[in-house]
């Protein structure tokens, strides 16, 4: 089969981005996600949003189903390790919920991110997730140091 150059270029670009992010993620500053970047109260608000808006597709246990990816455990880390909280927030803000993408208040999206972090055993802290995308972009999703 003939293939166009486009997918090849996208693949190379994709690898480059992943390599870059992965490289950065090994830096000490990115272990900050393990120092508490959200509060328990924020995660509790996020659980309410999740139950109202996300649970029908992603499930009570955040495990997903055939049409919706899991949001916890190995599946979550496979999809998101080495990427930033900014990227994760941006993804769900632009694409979720699928029947009305982007239509929740910005704070709801942040709270859901906090809930998902909590369910993935990232520790709570004393400050809520920052609303600045720039700051979120500085926090990488990495395995426990």
């Amino acid at each position: 089969m003939k293939t166009s150059n486009l997918p090849t270029l996208r693949a190379i670009f994709g690898f480059a981005v992943i390599a870059l992010v992965t490289g950065v993620s090994s830096g000490q500053e990115n272990a900050v996600i393990w120092e508490g970047v959200y509060t328990a109260e924020q995660a509790a608000r996020g659980e309410t949003v999740y139950t109202e808006t996300c649970i029908a597709c992603h499930g009570q246990d955040l495990g997903g189903n055939s049409n919706s990816p899991g949001l916890v455990g190995m599946g979550f880390m496979f999809l998101w390790e080495g990427r930033t909280l900014g990227a994760f927030y941006g993804k769900i803000r632009s694409e979720m919920p699928t029947d009305r993408p982007g239509h929740l208040p910005a704070q709801d999206y942040l709270d859901v991110v906090a809930y998902i972090l909590q369910k993935n055993a990232f520790p709570e802290g004393s400050e809520e997730l920052p609303s600045s995308v720039e700051t979120l972009d500085s926090i990488s999703i990495v395995s426990k140091p």
Partner: protein
């Protein structure tokens, strides 16, 4: 049609019926605006040979051609079609409706278990069945298996409440629910007659496909089998009068059964998938039902821990509807490993005297099987896929070099995990001896990832996806492909930027009707693919168009709606970003020629 109007049903009637409820915790809130007085009971004979103008099965007849013998609307006059009526459907979930027509009434399923009966000529509502959530009081009472576990308001993890098809038999409508139960609803009144819990939804089980009726047995196929649990997917047969289960046939070979070794050493709990999420077909002469099964879960061999064939995944099963016994099976893709589902519709056609079954999965291989024996007759690769080679003599597939995914390694493959073909059923026309197939042209850079091998874990496994246009698509996602039967030769292709998002409908008027994601409903000349008529509707066309007649006048009905799986969202969003659709607007739209 005689109807008795404005008769809301009181509690007493509902109470009288609840003696037949298998589970009584679900409070019916059926509201009937009318009682249909002259409803004719639907018989087995009528299902096999529907009265003129009726559409009694989800694809017209048990042979599932998706073909209407009506020809009043034809290639000469289709450009005069006018909207006769439209009716809004619920926007509370995904709508992929397959309406039925009987006695001048349209019965239509929509999201979250809602079923409506409409006057097929005027669009007037005759009755509506609307299931209620369990009340908080009842949930707190601890009664019922669902209520004890599911929180109020949450149909957790079972998708968006789609019910594709319903069945008509006797004077009942039969439906399968997002909470893994089946229901019988009085076709005259919309009242719930019985409900039977078939599986535990807290384990992930649910239905998206509705039942069919075969030789007096109500048959349904379950889905939601991707998580690891102490049981597997199945197809069941029920008594239509009571809902009592007559038989249950596993769609996965258990370790102790024949074929049980095709999953390697995996115990039953780690044999996931083989969902039966598309309704089957029925041959009354052979007294066999034909039902597809999905791919194994997790999708990739390396993730699920076995490179065995994994029977009876991705197979066509021929079952006796009386007892569920398997007469034969044909596994299309043994040991499938890319999410290439083969579960879809089974079209029964006699070719040169040979009773055949035609089917196509995500890979775009049109299979012809002998439906009496399961023997492979012919396979036609439509030529877009890059994953397998097909032996034209034996029908066996083999994976191309380097195309078996490894965990964490990117694979360049066509189609994407969304597939070329999906639930959007193809249609056959005996007039042209051709199959009309809705195809989505797409490819993917896919990286399959690991999942937890523990109870409650499993699932499909994560995939990092980068979708891209198929190199031969010229930037189009949508294609209607017309293939000659039985040669498999291409008659024509009709392409659009947007993906087609409905089943195809063929008619004796020489027409193919189909709808796309970009709100456009089209009529094509079945002979040459020429576009003859188009109209834009409220939102993406989605579901199963039908044709019917009442009092000698032919109608075309097109469902539209939103929701559904990734291919109805992510592919257009990523690959045709200039297109958009309203997020609501689910409806049924009925067209006819001017008076």
């Amino acid at each position: 049609m005689i109807i008795r109007t404005a008769r809301p049903y009181g509690v007493s009637l509902i109470t009288a019926h609840t003696v037949l409820l298998t589970l009584a915790f679900l409070i019916s809130t059926s509201f009937s605006a009318a009682q249909i007085e002259d409803f004719t009971a639907v018989t087995d004979e009528m299902l096999t040979s529907p009265p003129t103008g009726e559409w009694l099965s989800w694809r017209g007849t048990p042979a599932a051609w998706g073909y209407s013998p009506l020809d009043q609307i034809n290639t000469e006059n289709v450009n005069q079609l006018q909207l006769k009526w439209s009716f809004a459907l619920d926007d509370t979930g995904a709508v992929q409706a397959a309406p039925l027509i009987h006695d001048g009434i349209m019965f239509i399923p929509s999201a979250r278990g809602v079923i409506q009966a409409l006057d097929a000529v005027s669009g007037d509502l005759l009755w509506e069945y609307r299931p209620a959530l369990p009340t908080e009081e009842f949930i707190n009472s601890g009664e019922g298996t669902r209520a004890a576990v599911l929180p109020p308001g949450a149909f957790a993890g079972v998708g968006r409440g789609v019910q594709k098809n319903i069945a008509l038999y006797g004077d009942m409508i039969y439906a399968a629910t997002e909470t893994a139960s089946i229901r019988a609803i009085d076709a005259r009144s919309g009242l719930l007659i019985w409900e039977t819990q078939v599986a535990d939804p807290t384990l992930g089980y649910f239905y998206t496909a509705g039942p069919i009726v075969a030789n007096g047995t109500l048959v349904t196929g379950i889905t939601g089998c991707e998580r690891y649990k102490e049981d597997v997917c199945f197809i069941t047969g029920h008594d239509p009068a009571t809902g009592e289960q007559k038989w249950r046939t596993s769609t996965v070979a258990r370790p102790e059964d024949p074929g049980g070794d095709t999953w390697g050493d995996l115990p039953l709990r780690f044999r996931a998938g083989s969902d039966a999420w598309v309704a089957g077909s029925y041959d009354p002469e052979a007294n066999l039902i034909y039902w597809g099964t999905s791919q194994a879960k997790p999708w990739a061999r390396a993730v699920r821990g076995s490179d065995g064939d994994a029977l009876y995944t991705n197979s066509t099963l021929a079952l006796n509807p009386d007892n569920g016994q398997m007469a034969w099976y044909f596994q299309h893709l043994p040991g499938e490993t890319h999410d290439m589902d083969e579960v879809f519709e089974n079209i029964l056609i006699d070719v040169d005297g040979r009773k055949s079954l035609f089917k196509m999965g995500k890979l775009g291989i049109l299979w012809q099987l002998d439906r009496e024996t399961g023997e492979f007759i012919k396979g036609t690769d439509i030529g877009y896929q890059t994953i397998v080679n097909l032996d034209p003599i034996t029908g066996k597939i083999s994976y191309r070099d380097g195309m078996i995914p490894r965990i964490g390694e990117e694979l360049n493959m066509c189609p994407s995990t969304s597939g070329f073909k999906s639930w959007r059923a193809m249609a056959y026309s005996p007039d042209t001896s051709a199959m009309y197939i809705p195809i989505t042209l797409n490819c993917e850079l896919a990286t399959f990832g690991p999942t937890e091998r523990q109870l409650g874990g499993g699932g499909t496994g994560p995939v990092r996806r980068v979708n891209y246009h198929h190199p031969e698509s010229d930037g189009n996602l949508g294609e209607v492909l017309a293939l000659d039967i039985p040669s498999g030769e291409v008659k024509w292709r009709y392409r659009t930027r947007a993906p087609f998002n409905t089943a195809a409908l063929t008619t004796a008027g020489g027409l193919v009707f189909i709808g796309d994601w970009n709100r456009t409903m089209s009529a094509l000349d079945a002979e040459n693919g020429e576009l003859l008529w188009q109209v834009r509707l409220a939102t993406s066309n989605q579901g199963f168009p039908i044709s019917y007649s009442v009092d000698g006048k032919q109608y075309i009905a097109m469902p539209v709606g939103t929701g559904g799986a990734s291919w109805s969202g992510s592919l257009p969003r990523e690959l045709t970003p200039e297109l958009s659709r309203p997020r609501n607007g689910s409806s049924i739209n009925v067209f006819a020629l001017p008076e």
